[in-house]
């Protein structure tokens, strides 16, 4: 029983060997196992160094069985050829029928096996010896590899597609043909192989003689066993699906879904090694410390020879001329001639050079400095084109000449017909905007500090600050009725002293001024600026030296003066009324405070962060403020945003003297002592989410510097996109769009 089983196995092994090369490995192992089982004593043959091929081992096995005396070659010669079919057929027939011929059959089988193995070896081995390399390597070659003798195996000539198609169409056996890439040949599938494939496709065992349901041979001897090897019941986990495995699967599925695991990756084309490329990139890629190549020095030329030809030797004149050159420009090496190598003196600068080299090495940076390659254009903010933001003032067409000293302040009447200007020469002039004609001049004893038109068109009066006084002047430009009103307004019987304030020193006193046909308001300190309320009745004056009474608010109709009830911290610079609400801004040198005049309390404090504020202007919408400073910075505050500047524009190299918003166009301007005025586009959106858009538009030049002062004041025309600038060169310029 035992032997029979063994034989069967062997047979099957033989068959498998003869049929399929691929099946070699499992069969070998099987055989070895069998061998070991069968002949545990015969271990020396296993260790034989020539014992590479299983077939040989098989053939060596057989002498054990008894009858082996013929030479291998004989048997091979005799029974090769029809070996494969025989084996299959035999095995079918053999099944235990020829019991008496066991040995015979065994030997014959074994012979067959040897023959088969040899023939199969012949078939498979001789061809390509390149081994397991990607065949792509030979893609562009004429040969497919090398044979055993090391000769190239030529590729067959390629057939073109049409030809091969026609051939395949003609050939009835075409479907049986398979192209063997490795050996570059077409192999026809034999009937036997076909059967095998069919079996495989059906999911059966590849060999027809393999019985998957063979009776179980129990090799273990149960008789003597008193105790079972293990009597433990099967654990439960063998019967339930594995939790961990399912978890793992879920994890994988998830990873695939998330795209973390990618299947079917496209095969990457093999990159050629870039032989001549710049090796800097490869060193950068490397993880280790980067290699910094030493700077390449110039190769020595003929002139550095110890005996250069005469043309390289500088003349004495040239050598002298080197002495006149700068140290750096001077040539480092002056060629000289020596008749022999022996006569070359020692190098003069040897020690110095070594020292310098050491210094260089000592200070050599060890790390390569990596520059970030950023296009400087991309760092610029995306701003709309200036062309789209027209109109804005560009060129100066009109000049208003007549003042004899620096024009300090200008103001434009609300309709835009007239312009008032105050100058250090002590005059206030009224100009006609369209022609540049001076209509009226007032003269004062002191330099004029500030002029301001009343914002109401019906009351063409000008407030002028001169020294400690503020004059309200009647320009006489309105019609009769308006003139009558103005005269009434500017007239009062008794000088009004601020008796209600209770102070000993009067803050400001109202007087009728007959000389200038207006009102004179005498303050106790020098007044620097006057600002009207939009309704034209109130105006505020700022006295920087006035301490607690620095900012006053006057009411023209009642001839009444009052102090602001807030405590100021710091020197006040200027004050502005909110264009729509009852809010009053006072700027000190550092900060700007917004007060609610009705509730009499501080609403907001804006921290400019500037050294000295010089001017302030409120956007007509009322929520944005620009502040100019003495250090040339311009701050834009968005009051809704924060108390810190929304933007700081640093454009003027010198003091900003004034800043101005346009009343209707989205423009603002700053003028400075550097004799320029800058015009900006400052769009404030009604959408609260959108921040104001600031675009610098134009630099207006034209004024000349005088006593270190440039442009002293700038104001926009109330209705046109025009900018007036007053210069220290006593000219007022009008820049038009």
């Amino acid at each position: 029983m035992k032997i029979k089983g063994e034989k069967k196995k062997r047979q099957s092994v033989r068959n498998s060997k003869s049929e399929e090369v691929e099946e070699e490995q499992p069969s070998i192992t099987e055989q070895n196992k069998l061998k070991q089982k069968q002949l545990p004593s015969h271990s020396d043959s296993d260790s034989d160094p020539d014992y590479g091929s299983p077939y040989v081992s098989d053939s060596e096995d057989f002498p054990e069985d008894g009858d082996f005396d013929g030479s291998l070659s004989d048997s091979e010669a005799g029974e090769s050829g029809s070996s494969g079919d025989e084996g299959v057929v035999n095995s079918d027939v053999d099944d235990g029928l020829h019991n008496d011929q066991e040995n015979q059959s065994n030997s014959s089988e074994s012979h067959q096996g040897v023959e088969e193995s040899d023939s199969s070896e012949d078939e498979v081995a001789p061809r390509n010896t390149v081994g397991d390399v990607p065949l792509v390597w030979y893609k562009d070659e004429e040969h497919i590899g090398y044979d055993l003798n090391g000769k190239k195996i030529k590729k067959r000539t390629r057939k073109d597609k049409v030809e091969s198609f026609l051939e395949s169409a003609d050939d009835a056996k075409n479907w049986l043909k398979v192209y063997d890439e490795y050996n570059d040949e077409e192999v026809e599938v034999t009937k036997k192989e076909l059967k095998l494939i069919n079996r495989l496709l059906k999911g059966k065992a590849p060999h027809s003689d393999f019985d998957p349901y063979a009776p179980y041979v129990d090799w273990f001897k149960w008789d003597d066993a008193k105790h079972p090897l293990s009597n433990a019941p099967e654990p439960k986990r063998r019967f339930i699906p594995s939790k961990w495995e399912s978890k793992k699967v879920v994890k994988l599925v998830r990873a695939i879904r998330m795209g973390l695991i990618k299947r079917d990756k496209p095969k990457e084309e093999q990159q050629f090694y870039h032989l001549w490329g710049d090796d800097s990139s490869s060193t950068e890629k490397a993880n280790h410390l980067s290699f910094i190549p030493a700077p390449k020095s110039k190769l020595p030329g003929h002139e550095e020879s110890y005996n250069p030809s005469l043309e390289y030797i500088p003349t004495q004149e040239e050598i002298n001329s080197y002495q006149l050159m700068f140290e750096e420009d001077r040539p480092k090496f002056i060629p000289r001639r020596y008749t022999s190598l022996r006569s070359i003196p020692a190098y003069d600068n040897a020690v110095k050079d070594v020292f310098e080299r050491c210094l260089d090495l000592y200070l050599c940076p060890r790390v390569r400095k990596k520059r970030i390659n950023i296009d400087p254009e991309s760092l610029k903010p995306k701003l709309p084109s200036r062309r789209d933001l027209k109109p804005y003032p560009v060129t100066c067409y009109l000049e208003y000449k007549g003042h004899t000293d620096a024009v300090v302040s200008i103001s434009i009447e609300a309709s835009g017909q007239w312009l008032a200007s105050g100058s250090l020469d002590g005059t206030v002039r009224i100009w006609e905007v369209e022609t540049g004609r001076c209509l009226r001049v007032w003269e004062f004893e002191e330099a004029v500090k500030f002029v301001a038109w009343n914002p109401l068109r019906e009351i063409p009066i000008v407030a002028v600050s001169v020294g400690q006084e503020v004059f309200i002047l009647n320009t006489g430009l309105g019609d009769e009725e308006e003139q009558k009103n103005i005269k009434e307004l500017l007239h009062f019987e008794t000088p009004v002293a601020p008796d209600d304030s209770g102070d000993k020193v009067s803050v400001a006193s109202w007087h009728q001024d007959d000389k200038h046909e207006g009102i004179r308001l005498r303050h106790f300190k020098t007044v620097s600026s006057v600002e009207w309320h939009r309704k034209g009745d109130y105006f505020s004056t700022v006295m920087p030296a006035g301490e607690s009474r620095a900012v006053l608010i006057h009411q023209l109709s009642k001839k009444h003066t009052q102090r602001i009830p807030f405590k100021l911290r710091g020197l006040p610079v200027s004050s502005v009324f909110h264009p729509t609400k009852k809010i009053f801004f006072i700027s000190t040198k550092k900060n700007i405070r917004a007060y609610d005049l009705q509730k009499q309390k501080l609403i907001k404090k804006l921290e400019t962060g500037l050294r000295e504020v010089s001017s302030i202007s409120v956007h007509p919408g009322g929520d944005n403020i620009i502040v100019g400073s003495r250090e040339g910075k311009l701050c834009w505050f968005d009051m809704d945003l924060s108390s810190k500047p929304y933007r700081i524009l640093k454009c003027h190299p010198k003091d900003i003297t004034n800043v101005a918003f346009h009343r209707s166009y989205p423009l603002f301007a700053s003028c400075s002592d550097d004799c320029t005025a800058y015009v900006f586009h400052g769009m404030v959106y009604s959408d609260l989410n959108q921040n104001p858009l600031i675009v610098p538009l134009e630099i207006l030049r034209g004024h000349t510097s005088s006593n270190g002062r440039g442009v002293m004041d700038c104001k926009f025309h109330p209705r046109q996109p025009w900018l007036f600038t007053a210069g220290a060169d006593s000219v007022i310029k009008l820049y038009c769009h």
Partner: protein, 436 residues
């Protein structure tokens, strides 16, 4: 021949040309094609034509000519012109020549006491000027002042001659920054050495701001005025209206300062629409008024109904306006930039100017069409120049630089002179311009 001499000298390409003209016989040349060097400029062509005329007429005095090819004035050398206009030089070129339009004589400037703000030369007999000393003056010729019109209390911004048919004497309207318009009447006949001072016969009150401009209807019955109060007002000019009388008497009683003959008038109607100062008005036809304003628009008004029928928007402030040119329909306007623009309101769907002249370097203060020619107009600018333009070329025909300061006004006079006044208080007359 001289031509041959020229040809020998210039060894360049030649063009076959034929000179044609609409001028009268002494100035004609035989219409034969001749070959001329292609690098001739206007000057060369002019001497050529003069030579040709001299051949036929030995007494001929040379005079400059201007040359038109395909309705365009030649302003560079001939070959460049042909290249620029891509005209073939193979064919016989027809060159029309006209008399060159340029002032030949500069008259002695008429001095004023102050800036000359406005000038009107629509009547060939005299010139009216408005001045910043609030007087208007009438000049018979350059330097000959015949009348002084006094009465305004502020700068006279604009003057306009009213041509009234069937009425003897001359009527002049003045607009002033004292918010009034005044009408004046005088005769040109009396020739006395000293200028006669006359007073206005009618005061037109109603504007609340300075009046900037005045223009008379062509029949002379009405005037319109534009003002800084953004309105255009229409006024009656006749002096014998009863209601006007009544008003004037009432006022006089209150004021008791005006003399007997002064009447007062009120606006017949007001055209509202402009949002800023109306800087210039023109009333070329019975029923249409053109106005230019600082709100960057030119508007066309129906004088009867007071409706605004057309808007032309420019991007600049407009200071001056005139209507003329081809069938009196082109609108020329200048303003707060050095470009003189000309629109054709008949062109539908576009408000782009058809012509733009940009040789000035500052604001344009005045522009006037020649009343006979379709092509010629004059402009004055704050850069101190008066320029004479022809629509057929982009370059000015002539630049008059007689002013030392801003030129505030300019006009044609007698069809052959340009009169201009400026901030140097001078009235300059450049005469001898042969437009037709």
């Amino acid at each position: 021949m001289d031509i041959d001499g020229v040809n020998e000298e210039e060894n360049s390409r030649r063009v076959q040309v034929r000179f044609v003209t609409k001028l009268k016989p002494p100035m004609t040349v035989p219409p034969l094609p001749i070959a001329i060097p292609s690098n001739l400029t206007r000057l060369g062509l002019s001497t050529l034509v003069n030579n040709l005329i001299q051949n036929g007429n030995p007494d001929w005095n040379t005079q400059p000519f201007d040359f038109l090819i395909d309705g365009e004035l030649v302003r560079m050398s001939l070959d460049k012109f042909l290249l620029a206009k891509s005209i073939s030089a193979e064919k016989i070129l027809e060159i029309e020549y006209i008399k060159a339009v340029a002032p030949r004589k500069e008259e002695e400037p008429s001095l004023h006491d102050d800036w000359v703000s406005s000038v009107d030369g629509s009547d060939p007999r005299f010139i009216v000027t408005g001045c910043y000393d609030s007087l208007a003056r009438v000049w018979k010729a350059a330097g000959e002042c015949t009348h002084i019109l006094e009465g305004h209390s502020d700068v006279i911004a604009s003057v306009g001659v009213i041509n009234r048919k069937g009425v003897e004497g001359i009527t002049v309207a003045t607009a002033s920054k004292d918010r009034t318009l005044r009408l004046w009447k005088f005769d040109t006949e009396d020739s006395i050495n000293n200028p006669i001072r006359i007073r206005a016969f009618k005061i037109l009150r109603g504007h609340t701001k300075s009046v900037q401009c005045v223009a008379a209807q062509n029949t002379g019955d009405m005037v319109c005025s534009g003002s800084w109060d953004n309105t255009i007002k229409l006024w009656q000019t006749n002096d014998s209206q009863s209601d006007g009388d009544l008003v004037s008497i009432k006022k006089r009683k209150g004021n008791d300062q005006a003399d007997e003959s002064q009447l007062e008038g009120e606006a017949v109607s007001t055209l509202v629409g402009h949002t800023q100062c109306v800087s210039s008005v023109v009333w070329p036809q019975q029923e249409t008024i053109y106005s230019a304003s600082w709100d960057h628009s030119v508007r066309l008004w129906d004088a009867e109904t007071g409706k605004n029928s057309l808007d032309i928007f420019c991007t600049k402030v407009l200071n001056c306006l005139d209507v003329g040119g081809e069938s009196s329909a082109l609108i020329a306007a200048g303003g707060s930039d050095p470009i003189l623009r000309i629109w054709d309101p008949r062109k539908p769907g576009t408000s782009a100017p058809v012509f733009q002249f940009s040789s000035h370097t500052s604001w344009i203060s005045a522009c006037k069409w020649h009343d006979k020619s379709w092509f010629h107009l004059v402009s004055s600018s704050y850069d101190g120049k008066v320029m004479l333009w022809d629509l057929r070329t982009a370059w000015p025909l002539a630049v008059i630089e007689s002013h030392k300061d801003k030129v505030l006004c300019a006009d044609w006079w007698k069809g052959d002179s340009i009169i201009s006044g400026g901030a140097d208080s001078k009235l300059c007359v450049s005469s001898g311009i042969s437009v037709l």
